[in-house]
């Protein structure tokens, strides 16, 4: 692999075409198509070096994402994509780590990893396509399924109090938490861009309808279906009197309160704070340690250690 290869000097522009891989195997009408399109858009807009984009996922319909993006990618196991992505992020600061998955993958089997990734503030962007159901396994109750939802595992309607993704993320310590909707392409793009610009653990929950197993789940948040899509009015810090009532994205309690609104709730950025990433903290430790050692070679350091064990 490392033999001389002619490497083109000029880079071509990163187009949607260059980013497109296989045709998605999703059902026609699945909300995930729009999320994919938004991702293409963001990448096209940002023109990151193609080889430094990494698209990762767990298991689920939504987690098939990496196959549909022409970038470095990995399709991992169910629920463990956050630590996989954390390993990539912590060991390769040159990469842009994007992670995609579903509500089951992220909040059920993967719930603990999500939480610890959040508190450690690993630098990566995680998009959760929440369809309130297990799609790939054909309609079981998911941790976000509303009470009463009839599934194969709750034939008379779900009874368990669902996870509130915003609350979970805010309380766990994620430093960027937003919510969007697969029918709102521009909003999705905005949220993804802000998430990607954020240093730290940034999560966008996107309501993405499973037309096959939970059609109509999000009608109440789709204006053309008579629903309401209300965006969070963020503080502009412009001293205007109306700014008082606006949402301060750095206020944890305020964010938590917004998360308590009944469905469909609000969309936009709930929470966005600066806290040192684990990436930065570990990097600093490494740098301090190496400085103390006078940047000796690996061989010298190990030899020194062995000398002490004689």
């Amino acid at each position: 692999m490392t033999t001389a290869i002619a490497i083109p000097e000029e880079r071509e522009k990163l187009t949607k075409k260059a980013l497109t891989a296989d045709h998605p195997t999703w059902c026609p009408g699945c909300g995930d198509f729009a999320v994919l399109a938004a991702y293409y858009k963001v990448l096209e807009k940002r023109q990151l070096p193609h080889e430094n984009i990494v698209t990762l996922a767990g298991i689920g319909c939504s987690s098939r994402f990496p196959y549909f993006v022409n970038s470095h990618g990995a399709h991992f196991i169910h629920g463990r994509a956050v630590p996989l992505a954390s390993g990539v992020s912590l060991s390769r600061p040159d990469l842009h780590v994007f992670l995609f998955g579903g509500d089951g993958d992220g909040f059920s089997i993967g719930g603990n990893h999500l939480e610890h990734g959040a508190r450690k503030n690993i630098n990566l962007t995680y998009v959760i396509m929440d369809n309130f159901v297990y799609g790939l396994t054909k309609k079981q109750t998911s941790p976000t399924s509303p009470i009463g939802f009839k599934s194969k595992t709750d034939p008379t309607g779900a009874i368990d109090h669902p996870v509130n993704p915003m609350k979970k993320l805010i309380s766990a310590g994620a430093t960027f938490v937003a919510r969007s909707h697969a029918t709102q392409v521009n909003h999705m793009i905005q949220m993804m861009e802000r998430a990607m610009d954020h240093q730290g653990f940034s999560v966008v929950e996107i309501l993405s309808e499973c037309v096959e197993f939970f059609p109509g789940a999000f009608d109440s948040s789709i204006p053309r279906k008579g629903g309401t899509f209300t965006v969070i009015d963020e503080k502009k810090w412009d001293n205007a009197p109306e700014d008082e009532a606006r949402h301060d994205v750095t206020d944890e309690i305020a964010a938590y309160r917004l998360a308590n609104l009944p469905f469909p709730g609000l969309f936009g950025v709930f929470y966005d704070i600066d806290r040192p990433t684990k990436n930065a903290l570990e990097k600093k430790w490494i740098a301090d340690t190496r400085t103390k050692l006078g940047n000796r070679s690996d061989l010298e350091i190990l030899q020194k250690t062995f000398d002490r064990m004689k």
Binding site: M1, T2, I5, A6, I7, P8, A18, A21, D22, H50, E51, N52, I53, V54, P66, Y67, N70, S71, H72, G73, A74, H75, F76, I77, R80, A81, V82, P83, L84, A85, S86, G87, V88, S89, L90, S91, R92, D94, L95, N112, H113, E115, H116, E282, W285, I286, T289, R290, L293, D298, L299, I301, L302, Q303, T305, F306, R308, M309, K310
Partner: protein, 605 residues
């Protein structure tokens, strides 16, 4: 049974016997087993460790053995040191010297003292059986004298060093070397601490123990070897072996007896620009490590049995996605939480067969502390070459014992660690059927424009999911062939002892020492006995059948259960492969290392 020290009598006293009494019979000894029995808070481990390190610095061989109390902190425990001017292969079946700090130490360990051995006891705490005539009884008021020497405050902390002084006197240890070791150890702390330690040492050394001994012990001098000796335990050797192998990233979760490997790596890797992450659990740890490996570093994760069980699913992904990964299992007694501080070799089946589906992985097992270092290098080489998960099996015994070994030639051994993110040409296929997989980690430009996806679904050569019957057959074979190629490449183990004969012992892992000592003892007695030791357990090296064919019986010695059909874990694997009914088992499940005597009894009856 001669695991007792080889004692040679000398007529002339050796030159440096100093102020020794003239009436003592001087003895040059080649080997001594000293068991310190007390409570773990008495610092017997650190006294023992000083002895081990001293031996290492004196070009002697050494092996230690310790028990960890099951109470959370404190509690009865022992530390045994065997020092030899010749090869030391086990920590000794019996002790030549027993140091008993308490009555319970005496009661529980006196039967480990060989006949004619020396009982050194704290006469402030211990009353030996006055009727007992088989041993030399040496009472020293250790507690009182230590209080006296140190002024009462630090009594518990000083007794171990006092005893070190006593032993230095008895064995004519090199006092200057010992003091230097003490200074190195306590030098970093306040001057007071060091002074206190040296005072305790002096007090012990000054005690006229010679008065009550009948012999004057002196280790045969050993020719200084050309390479210095390193003294460390198996977990240290494994951790530093990984560093030498260029492993710079990893993740884990604490569990006895694996924890110290992760603690060393967590503290050390930043020096090398790397990083070890303490994860939220073992599933997170293995996934983090796989992320690091996917990113182009060869990463390491590890645990003991319970944690390895939790990593099973993700290791299967490594098999399928063909991602290199090192998985260390420091085995302890099982099943379940089992016996956390005892030794067992009962995780072999799981290492080979634990995954669902046909999920090939390589399994290596370290045989000695020194081998812990080298096996890490080999495991890393195999993982990189075959892009596969590799298990390294160690165990409680290796993890916690100290040995001295020749300093490795680091300049020769150190491996480079940078990910290969060179551009790949248009022909690149992540899972090409016609050659070994070597992934293009993220950051590699794909000049053909097609970027690879690695996946745990069955896939075609490009990494696309497929349900094609032909491809599943072909890819399954591709993954399996890695084991077959490796088998052809690894060396056939050498036979220790006669190349043919009645009984061939087969060992793996930490039983190396007692098995080899058993062979030596048998041969000294004029019996024939041979042994091979397997470091490569899955796949097995080619050519074992030729070795087996030269023996009447093949006895696999391992610390695990005989199972429903009467065969231990490695024995079953060898039987399945060779269908040779002369392959039989010598197993045990008492949570203790094999004694040389047990092996001899099993082999020669």
């Amino acid at each position: 049974m001669s695991t007792s020290p080889v004692v040679e009598e000398h007529e002339t006293p050796s030159p440096d016997t100093g102020g020794a009494r003239a009436d003592l019979r001087p003895e040059h000894i080649r080997d001594a087993v000293i068991r310190l029995a007390g409570n773990s808070q008495d610092g017997i481990q650190s006294a023992g460790a000083f002895l081990a390190r001293l031996a290492g610095r004196s070009s002697q061989d050494v092996m230690t053995y310790m028990t960890i109390p099951s109470t959370i902190s404190g509690g009865a425990s022992i530390f045994q040191v065997r020092i030899g001017s010749g090869e030391v292969l086990s920590a000794g079946d019996e002790a030549d010297f027993l140091v008993a700090f308490y009555q319970h130490s005496y009661d529980e360990h006196i039967h480990y003292l060989r006949e004619g051995g020396v009982l050194l006891y704290d006469s402030d705490h211990v009353q030996p059986d006055p009727e007992e005539k088989r041993f030399v009884h040496v009472g020293v008021p250790i507690t009182g004298l230590t209080i006296e020497a140190l002024g009462g405050t630090a009594k518990d902390k000083g007794k171990n060093i006092f005893v070190l002084g006593l032993l230095a006197k008895i064995f004519h240890f090199d006092v200057e070397k010992l003091k230097k070791l003490i200074a190195e150890r306590f030098g970093g702390k306040s001057e007071d601490v060091l002074n206190t330690a040296l005072m305790a040492f002096q007090a012990g050394f000054a005690y006229p123990v010679g008065n009550v001994l009948t012999r004057l012990y002196h280790f045969e001098p050993v020719e200084a070897s050309d390479r210095a000796q390193i003294t460390m335990d198996g977990n240290q050797a494994l951790a530093y072996g990984l560093i030498a192998a260029g492993v710079r990233y990893g993740a884990g979760y604490p569990i006895t007896p694996w924890s110290s490997i992760m603690e060393i790596l967590r503290a050390e890797l930043p020096k090398y620009g790397g990083l070890f992450v303490q994860a939220e659990d073992e599933l997170g740890a293995v996934s983090l490590a796989l992320g690091m490996s996917y990113a182009g570093h060869l990463a390491i994760t590890g645990s003991a049995g319970p944690g390895i069980s939790l990593k099973t699913e993700a290791i299967g992904w490594a098999s399928m996605a063909e991602i290199p990964l090192l998985v260390v299992n420091v085995q302890r007694g099982g099943p379940s939480t089992g016996l956390p501080t005892n030794v067992e070799q009962s995780d072999l089946y799981q290492a080979i067969f634990g995954g669902h589906g046909d999920s090939p992985r390589v399994v290596l097992a370290a045989s000695t502390v020194e081998d812990c270092f080298y096996i890490a290098l080999e495991a890393a080489r195999i993982a990189r070459k075959y892009s596969t998960p590799v298990f390294i099996l160690s165990d409680t015994s290796l993890a916690t014992r100290i040995e001295a070994f020749d300093e490795p030639d680091l300049a020769q051994l150190m491996e480079n660690s940078a990910p290969d993110i060179s551009p790949r040409d248009g022909e690149f296929k992540p899972y090409a059927l016609d050659h070994l997989t070597h992934h293009a980690p993220p950051g590699s430009r794909m000049l053909g424009g097609k970027y690879p996806v690695v996946t745990g679904l069955e896939h075609d050569e490009m990494g696309h999911p497929t349900g094609s019957p032909k491809l599943h057959t072909a890819m399954t074979a591709k993954r399996r062939r890695k084991l077959q190629d490796l088998a052809a490449e690894i060396p056939v183990p050498e036979v220790h002892g006669d190349p043919e004969g009645d009984v061939l012992l087969v060992g793996w892992g930490s039983t190396y020492g007692p098995i080899h000592e058993a062979v030596n003892v048998a041969r000294e007695r004029g019996e024939t006995l041979s042994a091979i030791h397997l470091r490569h357990i899955h796949p097995l090296p080619d050519g074992l059948e030729q070795i087996f064919s030269r023996f009447q019986r093949v006895l696999v010695v391992e610390m695990n259960d005989e199972g429903p059909y009467g065969y231990g874990q490695l024995a079953s694997i060898l039987r399945a492969r060779y269908c040779d009914p002369k392959i039989r088992s010598l197993t045990k499940t008492d949570g203790l290392t094999f004694r040389v005597r047990e092996i001899l009894e099993g082999a020669l009856q």
